[in-house]
Each structure stands twice: as C-alpha cells, then as structure tokens.
C-alpha cells in the first residue's frame, strides 16, 4: 500500500520535473535526434572523423560570438553588428599582417583591442544614452561593413603566414609517447590514435560527472529541487558517452583542433562567469528587471557597457579565427552571420525579454544550427531549403519556449 503511494509521488515528481525542465532536455534530445537523422541520411558521413573536425572548425567563430551574444541578450539587449565587426577585424588583421608585415603578436593584440573599442563605443550609446541597442548596432552593422570594404579596397587580402593559420586550422601536439598511440591504434584497429584527444575526452567526461554529483550532494543538503536519479544518470551517460565518442573520432583523425581548445576554454570561463560570480548574477538581474536592479544598487549602465565591450572582443576573436581558417580576408566575411549567432542564443533558450539563458544552452544551440547546416549540405539540399528549414527551427524553438511558459504558469 505504502509502496504504491511512494511510486505515485515519485511519478508525479518526475513528471513535474520534466515539465519544468522540458527545455533543457528538449534541446539535448533535438541535437541527438538531428545527428542521428543526418548520420543515417548521409550514410555515416556526418560522424566521420574528418567531418566532425570540419564541423567544429566551421562553427567555431559562431560559438565564440554566441558566448558574448548570450550575455548581451541576457542583459536585455541585442547586437546586430557582430558579423560586420568580425569581418572588419579580419580585414584589419590582413592589412596589418599581410600588407604591412607586422609581427603576429602585436597584430593580434591590436585586433582584439579594436574589437573591444568598437563594442565599448556602441555600448556607450546604449548604456549611457539609452539609445535602443537594435538601432545602435544596426548602424554599427552598416558602418563596419562599409569600413571593411574601404579597408580592403574591395579586394581580398591573403594568404596569411603559416603561424597565423594555425589559430584556426592547427592541432594540439600530442605530448604522450608515440608508442601509446600506436598501441591504442592497434587495439581499436585504427590507423593512428592521438592519445591527448582521448585523454581529454575521458577527463572532461569525468569532470562533468563529478561536478554533477557534487552539485547533487549540495542540492540535497539545502533541499533544492532535485533532478530525479533516472534523469541524472541518463543525461550524464549520454553526455559522457558523446564526449568520449567525439574525442575518439577526433583522435583517429588529427587530434584536438586548436580551435576546439579555445572554444572549450572560453565556454568554461563564460559559464563560470555567468553562474558563479557577482558580476554574472548582476547581469541576469539587469535583464530580469532593470529598475529593480538599479534600486538595489547595481550599476546597470556599467554592466550594459561591459556586456557590449565583451561582445566586441569576442567578435574580434571570431574574426581572427575566421580569417585564419579562410586564409584570406574578404569584404564579404561575416555577412549575415549575426543572425546565426542570435539564432543560436535563442534556440539555446535565451529570452528576448532578458534575464534568462545559459551559456551552455547557447553553445548547444550553435551546434544544433551547425549540424543542420553541415548535414543538409552533405545531403545536397539547396541553400534555399536550408534557409527555410533553419528559419522554421528557430521559430519552433521560440514557440516551444513560449508555449511551455504559458503552460507552466
């Protein structure tokens, strides 16, 4: 008798928990479903080591910018200029390095600072003059598109020196003895195995599970809403297996791309910044209710200003990666890319009205878009259909959010 009541309550708990967190699971499930779908329709091309590596390289600059965009959106704003700023900084890098022959390090530093200054100027008008961010960054989008055309005189500039290309196309050297890799390769029947990549995958998976367990323990101590054990186990297994699987695939190609490392480190930093620091919490407060935040002593203008400055730096970093990957700076670089970045943040669960959204969500959102792009290209679907499908996916994700919210309240 008591057993049935027990199960019944757990059952409803699991159900309410699922309803409340449908968004997070839904996103993960959607990503997996899309990957499985394309894996089948492309006869296994999607998950070939070389394609996985490509997928990461192709989406790296979108993910880097999505980190900044998420913060801007959480703060209650939008940045339409990131594509143009990215293109402009790529052009600047080409002029400094290729045309003027400047050494790499100072050139990279100048580019990042330029991005920061651009973000700061836009942020200044938005934060201290209360000009809508839509307008300021729409203007910025046009201005910097024009500036890169002017800077490049309408031409493409390239190629970059090898050391610069490495930013995007290089791989992290394997510090482990070659014999280990040979041994593993023999074991799995592959040609060669990059031990570092495998180790990184296992360590990362282990870290995610350990952190999850620790969070669970502290949640229990303070009586926070707890993820049902089944969900916890399934979710962590899926994530851990996926990580190890991906790194194994990478290991059997050329190892860890430099860009993956950059992306990974940045993601961890920004996830930490948004969730565990005072400044991160204050940004959510500004987006959640700016007036209440201001009356609580939070310097709302300064945070908005910083969010845009940060966005500028990240757009510059993405510009460098993009230029390095293409090995040339073109006036068309970054065209309409801001829309992919914004879409990634919204698909990842950010709210247009601010105050809601997670870094990891934006990264997964960007990957989802990336896999869609890549998979549809592999299938030979025309760019016309690709655009339509991506648009509908964005709309569906947001409708799902709104519907979910209206049902919960």
């Amino acid at each position: 008798m008591s057993d049935t009541t027990q199960t019944a309550t757990t059952g409803t708990n699991m159900k309410t928990y699922l309803v409340n967190h449908l968004r997070e699971y839904g996103l993960l499930l959607a990503l997996i479903a899309v990957m499985v779908f394309f894996q089948i329709t492309t006869n296994g091309t999607l998950l070939r080591p070389v394609n996985i590596t490509n997928l990461l390289l192709q989406n790296s600059y979108i993910i880097i910018m999505a980190l900044g965009m998420l913060i801007v959106i959480v703060a209650g704003h939008i940045d339409l200029s990131v594509g143009s700023v990215m293109g402009f900084v790529g052009a600047l890098a080409a002029v400094l390095i290729v045309s003027m022959g400047m050494p790499l390090l100072p050139a990279v530093v100048i580019c990042l600072i330029t991005g920061g200054v651009i973000g700061a100027v836009q942020g200044y008008w938005i934060a201290y003059w209360q000009i809508p961010s839509f307008i300021v960054t729409l203007a910025g989008m046009l201005v910097f598109r024009g500036l890169s055309l002017w800077l490049l005189q309408g031409q493409s500039i390239g190629p970059f020196p090898r050391e610069f290309q490495v930013i995007a196309t290089g791989f992290v050297a394997d510090p482990f003895p070659e014999s280990w890799g040979m041994g593993l390769a023999a074991l799995f029947g592959a040609r060669a195995i990059n031990v570092l990549a495998i180790v990184t995958g296992i360590v990362a998976a282990g870290a995610i599970v350990t952190l999850g367990l620790r969070k669970r323990a502290s949640n229990r101590q303070y009586g926070t809403e707890e993820e049902p054990l089944t969900f916890f186990v399934v979710r962590n297994t899926v994530v851990a297996v996926a990580l190890i699987f991906i790194t194994y695939k990478l290991a059997s190609f050329r190892g860890l791309p430099n860009v993956l490392l950059t992306m990974g480190v940045l993601t961890i930093i920004y996830a930490f910044l948004t969730e565990n620091t005072v400044i991160g919490r204050q940004i959510y407060a500004v987006g959640g209710n700016e007036k209440a935040a201001k009356l609580s002593g939070i310097k709302t203008e300064r945070l908005t200003f910083l969010a845009f400055t940060n966005m500028g730096v990240l757009a510059a970093a993405a510009g460098l990666v993009f230029a390095a990957r293409l090995n040339t700076a073109t006036p068309k670089a970054g065209f309409a890319l801001e829309l992919d970045v914004i879409a990634a943040a919204f698909i990842g669960g950010a709210s247009m009205s601010g105050g809601v959204g997670k870094i990891v969500g934006a990264v997964v959102g960007a990957f989802l878009m990336g896999v869609l792009n890549n998979g549809m290209s592999l299938m030979g679907i025309g760019i016309d259909y690709q655009q339509m499908i991506k648009g509908l996916v964005l709309l569906a994700a947001v409708i799902f959010d709104v519907y979910n919210k209206s049902k919960r309240v």
């Binding site: 303070y222 809403e225 209710n289 009356l295 609580s296 002593g297």
Partner: protein, 511 residues
C-alpha cells in the same frame, strides 16, 4: 423628480477585500454631484462599476439610469447611453492631433474613409464649447495638462454625453487651469450635462457641487445638499475619516535615541519638466529607534521625496543636505545610499522591488551580493544559508528559498523585499506603503517587523496613505502636500482630523 442615476446597494468584492459595501447614491438630472472620501475608500471602484469596467454580474445591487435598470457589460455599453468617464490619467494619444483624438474610435467616416472637412468643422465647434482656440490639427503632446483636460471633456461632448464623470480632474492642474475647469463645469451644467466629480479639494467641491456624497471604507456615510444643509469642511472631513481604529497595532516601547538621519531643505525638480518643483524645501529627521510617518494624499510627493534621497533615483537638480549621525553624506547613486546606511522599500514591489522570475534566494541577496561572495565569486551555499535564515525569521511562506517570487502572495513578496533590505544592513529604512495590497494577517506581521527594527535601534521612515496605520505605528508624523511639508505632529497631537485638516487647509490657502 426622478433622478437620472440611482445606484442601489452596490457591493463589490475582490478576492479577500470588500471594496464596496452597500453603497447607494442618487444623482439628479442637471446637477453636479461630488463624491469624496479617502484614498482607497472605494470612489474609483464605484465609478468603474457605474461605467461598466466591472460588468454587470460582477457586483451586487442595481443601477437605474434614465428610468430603467442598466446592466452595462463594458465601457462601450455605458458610453452608448451617454455616460462618459474621464480618468485621472488622461487617455489621449499624445502624437495624434486634437481632431484625431476627439473622434478616436468614433470617427466621422464613410466606408472607412475619414471625412476630414466634417471632422475639422465639428472639432472647432467642440473646442469652442470648452473654451479652446487651438487648431484642430495641433498635436496633443504640445498642449499643457490643463488644455489636455479640456480636450478630454470636448471628447466626451463629441460622444453626446449626458452624465460626465470626472475623476480628480484638477489633481495635476495649476490654480488658474483648475479655476477655468470649474468654470467650464458650471457652464456644462447650465447646458444640461449632469456631472459627477471625484476630488480631494474640498474648496473646489464647495464651489461647484450641488450634492456631496461621502464614502468611507466602501460604504456611503452621508449625503449633503447644498441647498438644504449647511456644508462645512469640518463636517466633510469628519465624515471622511471618522472610522474607529478597528485595526490593532502591536505595542512598542516608544523611545527616541540619538539623531540618525537629518535631511535639510530638500528640493527636487520634475525629471521631465525642469520648471516644476516636485519637492520644495523639505526638512525632516529620524532618531535611533524612532518610527516616523509621512502622511499625505496620493501625488503629494512622498514617493518622489524618498526616491530622490535614495541615490537620486528620481528627479533632477536635487538640492539639500543629508547627514547621517551628524556627518554629511553624499548620495549620488544607489550604491552610495546603501553604503551610507539607507534602504528604500518601494511602494511598487512588482516592478521596482523584485525580479519576479527569480527565486526568493536570488532576490534576497541582490542588494548585497558581496556579502555572499569572496573576490567576486559567489558562495551559493552561504547564499542559501542567508536566504533560509530570512525565510525562517521573516516567516516567508514558500516551499523553499528556490521558489520563484512571482508565485508568492503579496504579503510574502513584501517580506522578501524587506529581507533584501535587511540583508543590506541599513541604519535607516524608508518604507513606502509597506502594507499596500496585502491581507490583514500579513499586515500585522509587517507591523511586528517594524517594531523589531525599532527595538534594534534602526530608524524607520514610514510612508502610508492609510492614516490609521500611521497613527497606530508612528512616534511622529510629518504631513506632506503638493511637495511641501505642512507640519509635524507628535503621536499625541496626531489624529485623522488634524492630519486631514492640515492637508485641506493648504488647498484652501492656495486659492
């Protein structure tokens, strides 16, 4: 003669509150009928019942209009019968022209195409009737508040008004504009328009009203006729406030320690209209353990005073000095105000006090995040401990500190806001309408908390529109009206009559 309007035994209940309790009033054709009462007495609710904002069926009682039972389902219904209400906040579209506003939703059109000649001609006529000579094409935003009020009346005339309801029409007007408006009311009366005016300004009412109905606590207290009865302000005031102190207030030993905060000659201008003073030359002080009240009607400038002190969150060209324990302090922004030991609990907790979508915990720590962080890194375990502590000590009723505040009741939300400000470690708390919109039980708890604060030696400044609450809680009461302090009363001197007459006297003297 049969009255134009008769409201019989109207009762209206909101969840937990009885806003109207058996109100009856009768308005004769062609008269000006004044409805007076304190804030929250139920005047506006009564007018909303009359105009169909609260449709028939959501209230008890009967409305007889023009000799028949009226059951209005919406404002459109009542407007079709010639009942037009002009609200305190004007409902004009600032960027449209006068003509466009006059016929908004009521356009002179054939098959959807507006006849501009006819519109302009009729606009001229209507403007002439209310004594305006502005061009029909002038944009409403370019007009002053006084003229906008007249445009509102012209708009009512455009709809063939029979019963015009004016809700505090002169509240935002200058004296000459007010005088002009009252003059117009008398003219309209002469041309046969019946009018109901809601106002706090007794001198104005005495000037125009034929009949006065006083409402208190949702019930009709008295009806006076200018022709038959002798109407004095003293009598109106007594009827307005004459309730007995039914609510109970927890006892507190009255003690006043050393001086905590002094504000001298505080003057603030309106943020949008720099030539208008919102606060003029206000000085007050709070001692340790004291609860000081600020009484006044809505729009007296009490919230503006508090917010301008709290880190210049309101107004411009702020002048005056603030001293904490004798030391001058600078309060240029909210963080400086918090650092100086001030806390301001807003009257509008939903839009200014809370992040509704966030948890109790995140709301409580928001104003003092550094206390739960080290080197900018949040310690969430510590944060939860703090929030848990407040949940217990303030008796916040919620499943856990992770519950979203939007799901809490008004009283519990208020406790979250209070917790937030207690956690910021203030010496002086300014509480703006701390019990607005919360039920009686929670009110009592809030009063208890205020007494606890006083016992801890904190200074409390309490702004409230509920006079019994101020009388029950405060050691001293400042009376504020139209941006100035009218005077100061000790607990012994203060009574509802003495406060109300201080306010009313001023309205009289400015005429």
């Amino acid at each position: 003669m049969q009255p134009l309007l008769e409201m019989r035994a109207i009762s209206k209940t909101f969840p937990g509150v009885k806003a109207l309790d058996n109100v009856s009033m009768s308005v004769a054709e062609g008269e000006i009928h004044a409805v007076v009462g304190e804030n929250g007495a139920g005047k506006s609710t009564l007018m909303k019942v009359l105009s169909g904002v609260y449709p028939a069926g959501t209230y008890d009682g009967e409305i007889h209009y023009d000799g028949e039972l009226a059951e209005f389902k919406s404002i459109q219904d009542s407007e079709a019968r010639g009942i037009i209400i002009i609200h305190q906040e004007l409902a004009l579209v600032p960027l449209l022209s006068i003509a466009e506003n006059l016929f908004l939703g009521n356009e002179i059109a054939v098959k959807g195409c507006i006849n501009w000649h006819e519109t302009t001609r009729r606009t001229r006529d209507l403007l002439a009737r209310v004594g305006l000579s502005d061009a029909p094409t002038a944009r409403v935003e370019k007009l002053g508040v006084g003229k906008q009020q007249l445009v509102e009346i012209a708009k009512a005339l455009a709809k063939d008004v029979r019963l015009l309801i004016l809700d505090e029409p002169t509240a935002a007007l200058s004296e000459s504009d007010s005088a002009a408006l009252l003059e117009l009311m008398l003219e309209l009366k002469a041309s046969g328009v019946t009018q109901i005016i809601i106002s706090h300004k007794l001198n104005e009412i005495r000037k125009v009203a034929d009949t006065i109905t006083v409402i208190r606590d949702g019930a009709t207290v008295s009806t006076m006729h200018a022709k038959k009865d002798e109407i004095t302000e003293a009598r109106i005031v007594r009827d307005m406030v004459g309730r007995d102190m039914a609510a109970r207030y927890p006892d507190r030993p009255r003690r006043a320690g050393p001086m905590l905060m002094e504000v001298d000659n505080w003057t603030v201008r309106h943020p949008d209209f720099p030539d208008r003073f919102t606060i003029r030359d206000v000085s007050f002080n709070v001692r340790e353990g004291e609860v000081v009240g600020i009484a006044g009607l809505m729009g007296a400038g009490r919230t503006e005073l508090a917010m301008s002190i709290f880190g210049r969150s309101y107004g411009r060209d702020i002048q005056g000095d603030v001293r904490m324990r004798g030391e001058p302090v600078r309060l240029r922004n909210v963080s400086e105000a918090i650092a100086a030991g001030l806390a301001y609990v807003t009257e509008d907790r939903k839009s200014l006090g809370l992040i509704l979508d966030d948890s109790i915990q995140r709301n409580i720590t928001l104003a003092n995040l550094n206390a739960v962080a080290r080197n900018g890194l949040l310690n969430e375990a510590r944060e939860t401990q703090v929030a848990e502590g407040f949940r217990k000590s303030m008796n916040i009723r919620a499943p856990s500190v992770f519950a979203k505040v939007m799901n809490l009741s008004g009283g519990n939300q208020q406790k979250v806001v209070l917790s937030k400000w207690l956690f910021s470690g203030p010496e002086v708390l300014i509480l703006d309408e701390p019990t607005r919109g919360i039920d009686v039980g929670a009110k009592f708890e809030i009063y208890g908390l205020i007494n606890d604060l006083s016992a801890q030696g904190k200074g409390v400044v309490m702004i409230s529109s509920e006079m019994p609450e101020l009388l029950g809680m405060c050691d001293r009461i400042y009376v504020m009206n139209e941006g100035r302090f009218m005077g100061e009363l000790t607990a012994e001197e203060a009574s509802q009559e003495s406060i109300m007459s201080m306010i009313v006297t001023h309205n009289e003297s400015t005429q």
